[in-house]
Each structure stands twice: as structure tokens, then as C-alpha cells.
């Protein structure tokens, strides 16, 4: 449930929860609101074994095994994430994923090779992918929802391609025309679309936030970055002037590097706080059949996890990636809970259809932001 970019939380948004209540509980008067916490019980050393063996097998099989590796990874993270004592399940089979990967790799290689021979060809392919993106996005969400399950019921994503094209393609026009100022609003519209088309059994996901509510976090983030770069630029100019005041030589190189590092660090900090704010905004405004999520991510804590993860990964030549993933998943689960009055025992099924993995995989490789 963790494989997604910085901003996203599990795509298969977790569903309703009850504690492992025994058999037929008494159907009764209005019950009190109970907070059910998500818990993540994965361990770094345990996941490391899975990760490294699967990576090695993927290498030795020239990539074929990667589909099995993906399923094992997803199953590990789903299976260790519990809501009200019941784990989630990832049900996808490796073969459709393998087929999807083969197509995705083919497309990606064509894209890279095209760039070597003709920029026009490459642009054409990029354009094709861009035009297909909203469709691929929906297919990917359908696939993931279909194969995410809890308490014996699968999630569903109800496709609406027209709406997807509007929110993920057409809205880019006003976005460009507004020089990006509409970005938070567009982001809000997109998240709304993704949340509201999810179903769990008969239960419908609702998004209660107004897209305008995405403005405050983004405006704060933009202002801080702007102030930081402006201040840094002033300091840089001032520092260079001071240093080269006495002589004619150009300023030493380290000062430029220090500037770049400082700007990047500032960006990193803002990104962590923004990620926390947006994830909280989305979850706290998501409702499923009258049950509300509660997300308490802290920007500072997230920053600490991101930055220490980065250092650990760098110094270990990547070997600590599994620990990094587990830490992040644990923190995300720790911060999430579901408020419900019922015991989750009376949600009925509504059959969805099987979805091929191809779209999901093409999406993944081109790294289109499909995070909830």
C-alpha cells in the first residue's frame, strides 16, 4: 500500500473498519462513534529479505520475475496493514502484470530510442502517451481497486473516461493560461475525481472538500519557496560581492554549490510539509458510507523520515531501501484512522469486473501522478 509518490497514500483507499467483532452482533440503537486505527506490522529486516531475493531473481531472470516480485511486495504491505484487526489483501496475479510490464517497457524503449533518432518522433510518442494518460489512469485505478480487498470484499473504481479526460487533460489549458495559479484547484478537482469514483461493496466514497481548500497549503509552500530563493539569492550576491571585493578573481566555486544545496534543502523541507498537509486534507475530507477518515501526518516528522531515509539509502548503496519503505508505511498507517458507528459487518457486495493489468503497468512506468 505504499508504492506511490510522495504525495500519495494508498491508492486503494482503505475502507470501512470494524474490530474483529464476533458473529452476528446485535443490530441496535445509534452506536457511539468509534475510532478504528490503521496499523502496519511490517518489519525492515523481514521485508529486506523479500526485497533483496526478489531483486536478485528479477536480475537473474532478466526482468521476468519482476511481476512476481511486485505481487509479493504488494502482498507484504497490504497483508501487514490492518484496519480493525483485519488485514488488507492484494489479489492481482503475476501474469497479467508481466504482460503489462512487457508492453510498458516496449513503449518506454521506443520513446528513448526515438529520442536518439528524431526529436519529432519522440515528441509524437510523448504526445500519444499524454493523450492516452487519462484513460490509462482510469484503467490503472480500476485494476488496483479491483485487486484490493478487505473482509472478503473487493474495492471498485467506477470508470468515467469523459470526466477523466476533463480533469486530467482539458483542465491543463486553464492551468497554462493562468500561469500555474490554478494548480491547487486542478489538483483538488483531480483528487475529488479519484476519491469519489471508488466503491467498497455498496459503500460510496465521498470527497467533502472543495477544490479551493487546496489553495492554502500550496500558497504557503509557494511563498516559503519564493522567500527562501529570494533570500538565498540576495545572500549569494552579497557574499560574492564581499569575497571578490578585494581582487578581480571570480568567486570560488563552493559558494555556488552552497547556494544550490541550500535551495534544494529548502525545497525538500517545503515538500515534506506540503505532502503532509495535502494528505491530511484529502483523508480528513474523505467519507465512505458515512464513516470518516482521520489523518494526523506531521510535516516535521515526515521531513525527518524523508531526509533520514535519503541519507540511509545513499550511504548503504541502496541496501536500506526496504527499511526506508517500511518506516514510511508504518508512519502513514500510525497517522490514519477511521471513525465509524457500525461494526462493518453489514456491507454487501456489488460485483465489479476483471481489469487487465496493462494500463496499470503503463501508468506506473511513465510515472504519471495517480496518487490519491
Amino acid at each position: 500500500m505504499t508504492e506511490s509518490d510522495d504525495f500519495s497514500l494508498p491508492l486503494a483507499a482503505p475502507p470501512p473498519p470494524p474490530p474483529p467483532v464476533p458473529h452476528w452482533p446485535a443490530r441496535a440503537q445509534p452506536k457511539p462513534l468509534v475510532e478504528h486505527e490503521f496499523e502496519f506490522s511490517g518489519r525492515g529486516n523481514e521485508y529486506f529479505r523479500i526485497w533483496i531475493v526478489n531483486l536478485a531473481l528479477t536480475i537473474l531472470s532478466l526482468g521476468i520475475f519482476s511481476a512476481w516480485a511486485k505481487v509479493r511486495t504488494e502482498r507484504y504491505f497490504y497483508g501487514n496493514t490492518k484496519l480493525a484487526g483485519v488485514p488488507f489483501e492484494y489479489l492481482a496475479k503475476p501474469l497479467p502484470i508481466l504482460l503489462g510490464r512487457i508492453i510498458a517497457v516496449g513503449l518506454f524503449s521506443a520513446y528513448v530510442l526515438a529520442g536518439q533518432f528524431s526529436i519529432a518522433l519522440q515528441l509524437g510518442l510523448a504526445l500519444l502517451v499524454a493523450v492516452l494518460a487519462p484513460w490509462l489512469l482510469v484503467r490503472g485505478l480500476m485494476f488496483r481497486a479491483r485487486y484490493s480487498s478487505w473482509r472478503g470484499l473487493s474495492f471498485r473504481f467506477v470508470p468515467d473516461y469523459g470526466e477523466s479526460y476533463i480533469r486530467f487533460l482539458v483542465l491543463f489549458l486553464p492551468l497554462l493560461a493562468s500561469f500555474g495559479l490554478l494548480y491547487p484547484w486542478v489538483k483538488g478537482k483531480q483528487k475529488e475525481f479519484i476519491v469519489e469514483h471508488h466503491r467498497y461493496g455498496t459503500q460510496v466514497f465521498r470527497f467533502l472538500a472543495n477544490p479551493g481548500q487546496f489553495y492554502p497549503p500550496y500558497l504557503i509552500a509557494w511563498s516559503v519557496i519564493f522567500a527562501w530563493m529570494f533570500g538565498g539569492g540576495m545572500l549569494l550576491g552579497f557574499g560574492m560581492a564581499m569575497i571578490s571585493a578585494g581582487n578581480d578573481s571570480p568567486p570560488p566555486e563552493w559558494i555556488i554549490w552552497a547556494f544550490v544545496v541550500a535551495i534544494y534543502a529548502g525545497y525538500f523541507v517545503v515538500l515534506a510539509f506540503l505532502a503532509a498537509a495535502i494528505a491530511n486534507l484529502i483523508y480528513n475530507n474523505t467519507e465512505v458510507g458515512g464513516r470518516r477518515f482521520q489523518s494526523r501526518l506531521k510535516g516535521g516528522k515526515l521531513l525527518w523520515i524523508y531526509s533520514s531515509n535519503t541519507v540511509l539509502i545513499l550511504v548503504s548503496a541502496g541496501l536500506l531501501i526496504p527499511w526506508a519503505m517500511v518506516r514510511l508505511a508504518r508512519y502513514r498507517a500510525e497517522c490514519l484512522s477511521l471513525l465509524a458507528r457500525d461494526d462493518f459487518n453489514d456491507i454487501a457486495v456489488r460485483q465489479g469486473q476483471g481489469i487487465d493489468a496493462i494500463a496499470a503497468e503503463v501508468d506506473g512506468l511513465f510515472d504519471i501522478d495517480i496518487g490519491l
Binding site: R72, S249, V349
Partner: protein, 405 residues
Amino acid sequence: MTSLAARYFDGQSSRVHDVDVELHEGNTLRLRGAGFERDEPLENLSVSPRLARICRTIELADGARLLLDDHPLIDQWFPLCNPLQLWVDRLERHAHAVAASILVCLLSAAWLFFWGVPWMSDRIAEQMPEQVETRLGEEVLAQLDRFAGLAPSTLDTERQSGLLARFATLKAGMPGAEDHRLLFRNAAGIGPNALALPGGTVVITDQLVSLVSDDREIDAVLAHELGHQQQHHALRQTLRSSFVIVIAAMFAGDVSSASAVVVAVPTFLLQGHYSREFESEADAFALRTLAEKGTSPAWFAQAMRTLEAYVSEQDESGDSPGYLSSHPQTRERIEEAEFAGEKFAIEHPELYRERPDYDACAEDGLCEEAELDEEIDCEVEDCEIDTSGLEQDTDTEAPVDPQPR
């Protein structure tokens, strides 16, 4: 036989039924709970493969499922399920297999970046039509002119044609070098430097021309750049960088939240590694070419010292660590060149005038006529003494030529 506690979901609703599960008569799974019973033949069931400590799921034919904690009994009930994943699961639990996997991963990564990527890039570079490379070079030059502050040269025509003639002599006889051309640019911002652009163009800055005290130093620099040209370093470097970025991006896609730094730092270090390799190749080429053309390779050392002195003068605190530099340790390069120079002196004693330490007065008795030359030589020697003191443990990125992008 023992029974296992499980949670039963009928697949039609989210209701939990707590049940006990046991094997009945060797071929039927018997489910019993409060007010609930069900028997299913084993062949109608499938089980999710074992994975770490996560719950196992037994799927019934009608979409109902049983969720139960992992237990050895489960694999006894379903001995033939998922042989592949059973085997992978054993590997994951086996310390030796894990150790072997670490080894496989690290070795493959090393192989990929030190051998696979260069090999792929070089094969592609060979296939690449010449026009593509030429166009790429024109593009780079246009960008340099626009953004890096390269201005038309201020050298007078006579000086330029003198240097062009030296360039022509150097490249004479090199296969495929007919179209290589030398351009002059005034680049106050960059300083003394020379660049090898894709497609045969060599750029030398006015600052470099006026820095050196003997044109044979320029020969050395140009020979180095021709080395880059003959071996298509600029193009190959571009391709290698692209590959590293693509691979790193694909890998990072799986890492999820790991930030861009995780990709950027190794990419940067790797590119440094590749370009150091190319610098060494170009150096070797330059030393060979100089010797073939009857100029002592020691002039290359001389040029390096001149540049080194310039850099250390510019940057008193020039302490960029060696592994970050895009050039091999300057000292090593100078030693290589000196060594080649000594070899040259032994092989061609008749060309003693071509050595940087040639003393016209002592060796040819040309004291009076050569007074001017002698002074220049002395100056150069002074420089040499200064720099060796200054540069004791300083690696400078001698600006001979950062690879153009």
C-alpha cells in the same frame, strides 16, 4: 489432527464468521463455527502462497474466503500449490540465499554501470549517423555562445591563422579528421579552456591562448581535444549520461518516496567516473600524437602546470576533492606526460630542441641570439617551482576541458 482458528467471509458481505478449520478424511476441509458449518473438498480450494508472517487466505470456489494466521498445517493441506512461490519463500527465509542475493545485486549494479552502460552507449554511438553528431555539436555551440558568455575572439587574424596551421599539422594523417575544425572564442567567464564538442569542433578560448608562453603547450592541449574527437567522447558521454538517468529513474520509480537526491548523487558520481575515463584516454592520445609529430610529450606536462598555476592563483582555497573532479589527479597526469617526455628524449635524441627544458645557450651555444627565448624559459621554470609548492596536495580541475554537455 489439530484445527486452526480462521475468519470466514462469504464474499457476499463483509460479515465475519469465526470458525475452526480442520482436515476431514484427508480430502475435505471442515469449517465449524457458532451456527455455521461447511465442508469443502480440497480440490475446490486454493491457498495464497506463504509470505513472511502475513495471513494466509484460502479461497473457496464460490468467492468465499478464509483468513487464517500462517501455520505449517496449511502447506500440508495444500502441498502442490504455487511451487514457484513456495521456493521463493524458502529462499527469503534462508540466510545464505539472502547473502547470495545481496552479492548478485551489488555485482550486477557494478557490472551494469561500469560495463553495461558504456558498452551499450558505445554501440549506439557507432551506429549514430554522422549528421546527428554534427547537428548535436552545432546545438551545443549555439547554446554555449548564448548562455555561457562565449564571444567572438579578439585574437588578430595572423595569430589565428598561425594556430590554425598548427591544428592542421596535428590532425594531418588522423583518420576521419578532415572535417575537424578549430574555433576561437573570447570567454572571460570561463577563463583558459578548450572544449571538444560533438562532431569534430574544438573550441579554444583567447584566455588559454594568451596564458601559455609557448605554442607547443597549445599543441598539447589541442592534441588532447583531438583525442576526444577521434574517440567521439562528447557523444558517448551524452549517451552514457542518458542511460544512467533512465536506469536510475526506473529504479527510483520502485523506491517510491525516496527523493530525487537518491538518484542525483550516484548519477553525478558515475558521470564523473565516465568523464575521468575519457580524460585519461584523451591524455594518452595526446602524448602519442605529440611524439609522432616530433614534439616532446613533456609539453603536455608543461601545459598542465601552466593551467594548474593559473587555477591555484584564482582559487587559493581550491580544495575540490579528487573523486569529485572530472579530471584524474593533475599530478598523475603531469607525471604520465613527464614519463612520456623522457621516453621521447631517449628515442629521439636528435629532437632535443623540442623539449621544454631545452637550453639554447648551454646546448647549442646560441646565447646571444636566443636571449629573449631564454628569459621566457626561465619564467616558465619559475612558475614550475611555485606551483609544485602550492599544489602539493591540491587537485585542481585543470580546466583543459570539462566535457561539454
